[in-house]
């Protein structure tokens, strides 16, 4: 089995798109509908990378991130933020990338491969 990626997004369509592409490239993919759901699932799952939307209902992402220990996280953002804001959002050493939506799926796959390997 390939590396495990957890996709956290409140948009089902986004999850489906990313999940389909990752699974087709050999990754094991699970999903969570928001930050709270992600924390709940992390009690049972140990993904190699979390791809997390920056704006979701429930507890704000900036409060969720510090509670995630030992897993790499890449932000997926539909909103455009400034360079200074990106730095502010890097609230944990676990955050490894900031990916702006809409992204090219091949670029996303390259980034994921670079972070966790195939």
């Amino acid at each position: 089995m390939g590396k495990h990626i957890m996709v956290v997004d409140d948009e089902k369509d986004n999850i489906t798109t990313v999940k389909t592409a990752l699974e087709a490239n050999g990754y094991k993919v699970t999903s969570a509908k928001n930050g709270d759901d992600c924390l709940k699932k992390l009690k049972k799952e140990k993904p190699d990378l979390i791809l997390m939307d920056i704006m979701m209902p429930g507890t704000p992402v900036r409060e969720i991130i510090p509670k995630i220990k030992g897993t790499k996280i890449a932000y997926l953002s539909v909103v455009r933020v400034s360079e200074a804001e990106k730095e502010d959002l890097m609230v944990s050493k676990n955050i490894v990338d900031f990916i702006q939506k809409p992204f090219d799926i091949d670029d996303l796959l390259k980034k994921v491969k670079k972070i966790v390997g195939a």
Binding site: M55, R80, S82, E85
Partner: protein, 185 residues
Amino acid sequence: MVNLKKELEDNQVILLLMPGKEYNEDIVKNLKYFSSSSSVFYVTLNKTYSALSELCKKHKVKSDNVVFVDTISKTIKKTPDQSKQVYYVSSPGALTEISLVVSKFLKHEFDYMIFDSLTNLAIYTKRAPVGKFLSSLIHKIKGTKTKAVFYAISSGENDELIKQAEMFVDKVIVLGKNKGGESDD
């Protein structure tokens, strides 16, 4: 490129459908065009005030005449940047709050209002009555002299919302391809 100021002389409220690829660049170019000699209030549902300021600086947009209504920053930052040029709304899904703020700004007789964008409104308020919100908002605009441009990304995902919006605006302009409205090509 369509002459937006001219279009707005004949049509008070325009829906501008744009391709996703050049979206941010085109929006800033249009803002530059409007703000050079007119007052503008800009409602953003997809960029923070800080990101917009960065874009304005990059494209040498004179933003002294622009007031921003930022619906994003409060959702991702504890303390958004303070400025006389920005008013923060709690979230892009807070339709009542957005409506109240827009009403407040309409009373100040701005020349133009830019709403960026209907596409994001659809993302954040899927279950809310977006059509009712738009109808009410455009009705308020029509009671003033402010000219308004509503942006949306021209993709199939937004067809339902665009159909709703088309009922309320005076003109639909499609940039890049012909889609029921006037094409830029």
